[in-house]
Structures are given as structure tokens and as C-alpha cells.
Amino acid sequence: MVKFEYAPAPESTAVVDIAPSYGLFVDGAFVDPADGEPFKTVNPATEEVLCEVVAGGPADVDRAVQAARRAQDGVWSRLPGRERGKYLFRIARIMQERARELAVLETLDNGKPIRESRDVDVPLAAAHFFYHAGWADKLSYAGFGPDPKPYGVAGQVIPWNFPLLMLAWKVAPALACGNTVVLKPAETTPLTALLFAEICQQADLPPGVVNIVTGAGETGRALVEHDGVDKVAFTGSTEVGKAIARSVAGTRKRATLELGGKAANVVFEDAPIDQAVEGIVNGIFFNQGHVCCAGSRLLLQESVADEVLDSLKRRLGMLRVGDPLDKNTDVGAINSAAQLARIRELSDIGEAEGAQRWSPACELPDRGYWFPPTLFTGVSQAHRIAREEVFGPVLSVLTFRTPAEAVEKANNTPYGLSAGVWTEKGSRILWMADKLKAGVVWANTFNRFDPTSPFGGYKESGWGREGGRHGLEAYLHG
């Protein structure tokens, strides 16, 4: 018998070229900040400083919004849709050409496995640009009136879990519909957005159509509250989403919010068990569980609960946790020290509340932010780990006896972003999809995304939809 060990297979970082410091991308050029302060961005897998970026101040935000306004009035809104589409196609193609660079940079800055940035984040981001490029000259047929108009300047604030992909979800539809944008990437993951700025230059995108102002919460607040912004689009925590909703209330600004989730992944006794186990793993351990639509509550029908749990534990034993740049890594680093502290805190609370904690034996690197794949059994709806979004590789396992009980438990949350149903019975899939209060219901799969499919939440998971025809509505009015 052979002892099978994968040799290290690290992706080379030679393909990326990180400057020691970056300015802000305003009006088509990288500029020094007017009143912003520099801060450092680190590789969460090693805690090494990658480079210095700027936390844009109010004057920086103002300058970017003005540039976006000029571009909107002077150029972008005057271009026919087919011309806007050409720029979007060009951006999409450059993203594909520079896919490896984008993937490596994303993994360095975010900590996610290269397998995911290479196979999911970057191809999907390019797909969003391709998809929306196709819409640009067909908006009259999208169902929003014969001649729908852009809102104007969109202020967009995105999270750190899928930095480039969330950028694409925001920028592509805004541009296709004729808006210009000021985008603030997350504090801990600004680098792919800055590379995207370079791509905009390479694509000869008119100056001011895309502006990128890096920074943390204060910069985001300055952007969202700026008078010159017509439309606010935010993806992030429900807490910040509520603050944004309060700040835009009573103004002319439109807002779409894509917030938290606590998705139920429901496995029935007639499920394809092996694939359900894969789906559970993909649901909660994909991207270290830093996924707003993660399947963080596993609902198992009691008659198969033990069988599924045994399979799941065996499968978790095979997960490869470690160097995100290694092509064989399944679970990478937690994005920041703050997020790691939050995951630890909620996990400790789970244990204190009486749930049973289990993790496979796995060695974690000494440096960097790491948390082992973890599951809690004996969880009830009353436990905080079953109610609050952990946003980490932590799965709460609950059981149910009947389909009605599954629906009741699945819907018993302030969130409603996504849900999963595992059964070989087609009629039950349709019945469940009808009853579940969630923006996306996946059947016999989980965490699958496509630019043609609208994505968004019920209840505290947000307002509006992104992607598909429905997503255009966020950037158009009749």
C-alpha cells in the first residue's frame, strides 16, 4: 500500500507585479490623495505586508464623484448602447487575458485558495462583463419602457469576500445601463480593484467612467452620503446595510443592498447522499465560509442524519487546509484578524451554549489567520450559532422530521438570501422552492452562480436583485 501525499504545488507569484504604494483611481488616472491617509494591506495567509494603499478622505471622494459626474454628462450617457457594449466586451476580454494575474493577486490579498480564484472568481467576473456587454444595446427590450435611462452616478461599496467578483456584479450592469461609478473596495482587499483600474486604462475606457477610491468604513460613508451620488449599491453586513438605508431615506438616492444570510441547506432522506455531502461542503467551506449565501445551517432529516454526518465527517477529513497559493488547497486563510476573532467568539459561544463542536485533525500554519473547518451538532434554533451569521467555516447541524418542519425551521430567521434542497423527488423540490423565503433556492446543488440568474434577498438579506434581467432594474428607470 502506498501512502498518498500531494507534493506542494504552489502557483507562481511571478505573474503579479505589486507596487510599493498605490494612489486613488480618479478621472482615468492614478492620483495622490487630497486628504486621504495611507494604510497597509496584508496577505492574510502570512501576515506579510503587500503594499500601501490610501484611505480616501471626503475631498478624495468628492473629487471622484465630480469626475464621475463629468464623465456621465459629457461622454458616457451620450454614447449609444452598442458603443458602451464594446468597452464592456473589451474589459471582459482583458480580464480573461490577465486571468492568472487577477487570480494570483486575489489569492494573495484575500487568502482564498487559488483553485477558487482561478476557477470561480475570475471566470465569473469576466462572465458578468460579457453578459452585461450584451445587454448594453438591448435595454429598450428589457421590460423597463421603450427608452430607459440611467440614474447617473452610482456609489458602490463592496465587501472583501469576493473582491473582484463583487466589483463585476456592481460595475458591469451600472456601465451597461449608462451610469458611471465610484467604487470603494473593502479595506482588506483593495488590490484587484486597483488592477481592474489598470484594465480600464488598457481598455481605453473614457476617464471618469470608473473611479476607484480605496479605504475603510469612513470612506464608504463619505461616498454613500455624498450629494452627487444618485444611486447607492452596497454588498456587506446587515448592520452597515441598515445604516445606509437610514442615510438614503428621504433623499432622491436609490439603493440596492445585498446583505447577510443564514441559509438552510435541507437534506431529505431520499437525497443523493454523496452529492449532498459535496454540496454541504461546498455550501459552507467554499471560500472559508466567507459567503453571504453560505449554507451555514444544515437541516438533516432524522432518518438519515447519522449516515450523512458520518459521510460528512469522513469528507471533512479530506479537506486540505493551508497555503492558498497551493493548487491543491481546498480551504484557505481567514481574511483578517478581526474576522478570525469574530469566528472564534461565536464558536466559543456555540460550545458554551451546549452544542457539540467537531473539527477534523488538521495542521494549521503558524503565521496568518486560520480557522479549521468546524461543525456543531446538537444545535437548536435557539442557539446563537444557528441564528447569527458567523461568516466563517462553521456549520451548524440541526435535524427535522417532516417537510413542513424543515420549511418552518428554514424560514425561522431574520435573513432570507438563499437555501438548498436535496432530494431526488422533483415535486418536493418545487414544493420547497415555493415555501422557502429565500432569494435563491438551489436544488441538488449549492453556491452556483451565473450572470443570467438574479441574486438577492428577502427580509434582512437586502433590497433588489443583481444579475439577470432583474438586476438591470437597479441601474435603470423608465
Binding site: 454523496d274 454540496g279 493548487k327
Partner: protein
């Protein structure tokens, strides 16, 4: 060189087997009660595992393992004693000027050529595997199939590769398939039995899972994907489903059945992907010629080319491996 596969039947195995095969309807209920296989999910899982990167020492070790797991095969109407002798020589010394290169696990041939191979392989530890039971179609009477098996065993075959009756399986006559496997197993005597499902004709992964269990309940020492005469053959998702079956069968009965993908595995890269599947699906217990075989002919030379490259850092030309 091969250790003994699945020894005496365990009590747990007897209990499971006797309860689920008590009647035609019990058997049907059992097979249809196995969890379904979601096609999209199984194919996605296989594709993810196929993207694993195997390098350096791991690759070197697995290439040698792959060579030692090969059932070096020729199954042509045009096969002659000379062809079989050549294949046997190749199997004994795949790399004529490198004695560190392992020999293959078995030579797989038609039954009438068994005496030639037995003669050539005496004392080498390489097994002689014969296809039997009206291979590849399986379209003959049970009496003919059993005689085919007995002839090969009598001629000295160490292993018998039988085909199931796909017609009977697809029309739901599971009891008949089970009975054939059992009778062929009995006719094998000391020879090990590999049961070929011919997954390319079974059409669905649900069928592949059911047929795998059926073969194992019938006493298979190995389950094997394909004859090599039908395409598709040993695809990665099919291998995944069959590996899940041998894994689950061991969990249920304590009895470890081997797995042999055959057909369409032509490159070292293909073979490595199959090993990744084994490692991540049922574990390293199966990474042994006693429980894992690769049915192949052209694969061996690609493995040798890769092996040379690992040693020298350069690719050698086709003329630096032997053709037999």
C-alpha cells in the same frame, strides 16, 4: 507479488448478502433503495478532483504504482501466441535497461491464449487474467459462460474477467445477473473474479451504483468498469461512483472489494487522476495491486516516458520505449 484480496467471507457479509438477496423482490427493493446519484454533482466532483496537481515525489511514486497496477491487455481477434509472448516480455521488464522499474500486475488476454501466457510468466509473480463468459457481449447461454470460465481456470488463469448480462440488468432481471455472478464465481475456484459492468451500456450512474452492488453481493473480488470495446468506458465520474460503492460495501460488510477501471486510460495524467479519485474517495487502502488495477495497453508506454522524464528531466522519443 500481489497480496491476497478479500479473503474468507466475513459474517457481516453473509448477513447482508443473505438478507438482501433472499428473493427477487428483496433484491430489487435493496438496489432501488440505494441513494441516488445526482449526475451533475457526481460529474462536478470528478472534475474538481481531476484538477488536483500531482508533482515531484508524489508523481514519481504514483507512476511506479500505476505500472505495478496495470493489467496489460490485448483483446483482439488477431491475437496470436507471438503477440501474447511479446506482451508478457513487456510486462516482466517494462523498462529493459532499468531494473528499478516495477513489473505489471497481470497480463489480460482471451481464454484460448492462457497456456501461452502461463508458460511465459511462470515464476514471475505476474498473474494471468482471462476474459470469459462470452466476452465482450455476454450473449451466450449460462452453460457456455461457465464452460468458458472453467476452461480458462483449467488452463492456469489466476484471474477471470467476466461480463454481466447487461440485457438482463436493464430489463430488471437482477436475480438472473446475481445468479450468473455467483455461478461464475463458483466456477472460478481459486481464481479471482473481476466483474465487468460495461458502464457505457448502463447509461445512468444510478445503474452503475446498483450494478456495482449486485456484482459485489454476487461475490466479485473486483468490480471493473468496461470491456474496452464500448465507449464511453472508464470515465472519472463512473470511477467515482464505483469507488463510492466499494467504500460503502466495506463499511457495510467489512469486505474490501477491488476496483479496476479499464478502457480509455491512455496517459500517465489520466492514471494520476484516477489515483486522486481513489485517495479522496475511499482512501489509500485501495492503492495496492491487490485492490486496484488499471486495464490498459497504451498507458504503459506513456507511464514509461513520464518515468524517464522524471529521472532525466527530458522527454524521450517514442522510440525509447518498446512496442509489444
Amino acid at each position: 507479488m500481489t497480496s491476497e484480496p478479500a479473503g474468507a467471507r466475513s459474517p457481516a457479509l453473509e448477513t447482508v448478502t443473505s438478507s438482501v438477496t433472499a428473493s427477487e423482490s428483496a433484491l430489487r427493493r435493496f438496489l432501488h433503495g440505494l441513494p441516488g446519484v445526482d449526475q451533475v454533482g457526481a460529474e462536478a466532483r470528478a472534475a474538481t478532483l481531476a484538477s488536483r496537481s500531482v508533482k515531484a515525489d508524489a508523481k514519481r511514486q504514483l507512476i511506479d504504482l500505476a505500472i505495478s497496477c496495470i493489467d496489460l491487455t490485448t483483446l483482439e481477434g488477431a491475437d496470436t501466441p507471438g503477440k501474447v509472448r511479446g506482451l508478457c516480455a513487456k510486462g516482466r521488464r517494462p523498462e529493459p535497461d532499468d531494473s528499478s522499474c516495477p513489473q505489471v500486475a497481470a497480463i489480460c488476454i482471451y481464454g484460448d491464449l492462457v497456456p501461452v501466457a502461463v508458460e511465459e510468466l511462470r515464476g514471475t509473480g505476474i498473474n494471468v487474467a482471462a476474459v470469459a463468459t462470452a466476452f465482450p457481449s455476454g450473449r451466450a447461454s449460462l452453460a457456455v459462460k461457465l464452460q468458458d470460465t472453467r476452461d480458462a481456470v483449467a488452463a492456469g488463469a489466476d484471474e477471470i474477467d467476466m461480463v454481466i448480462d447487461r440485457g438482463a440488468f436493464l430489463s430488471g432481471r437482477y436475480g438472473q445477473v446475481l445468479d450468473e455472478v455467483r455461478q461464475v464465481k463458483a466456477a472460478c475456484g481459486p481464481a479471482h473474479l473481476k466483474v465487468i459492468l460495461e458502464t457505457g451500456e448502463l447509461a445512468t450512474y444510478d445503474n452503475v451504483r446498483r450494478a456495482s452492488w449486485l456484482a459485489m453481493l454476487g461475490g466479485a473480488d473486483f468490480i471493473k468498469t468496461s470491456t474496452g470495446k464500448i465507449s464511453p468506458a472508464a470515465t472519472l465520474p463512473v470511477a467515482l461512483v464505483m469507488l463510492e460503492a466499494v467504500r460503502d460495501f466495506r463499511a457495510a460488510t467489512g469486505s474490501q472489494v477491488g476496483f479496476k477501471p479499464a478502457g480509455g486510460i491512455r496517459t500517465a495524467k489520466d492514471a494520476l487522476k484516477h489515483f486522486v479519485l481513489v485517495h479522496e474517495t475511499c482512501g489509500d487502502d485501495w492503492l495496492d495491486p491487490a485492490y486496484y488495477r488499471l486495464g490498459a495497453s497504451s498507458l504503459l508506454n506513456d507511464l514509461l516516458l513520464q518515468r524517464q522524464r522524471m529521472a532525466t528531466g527530458r522527454y524521450a522519443g517514442r522510440d525509447y520505449v518498446t512496442v509489444d
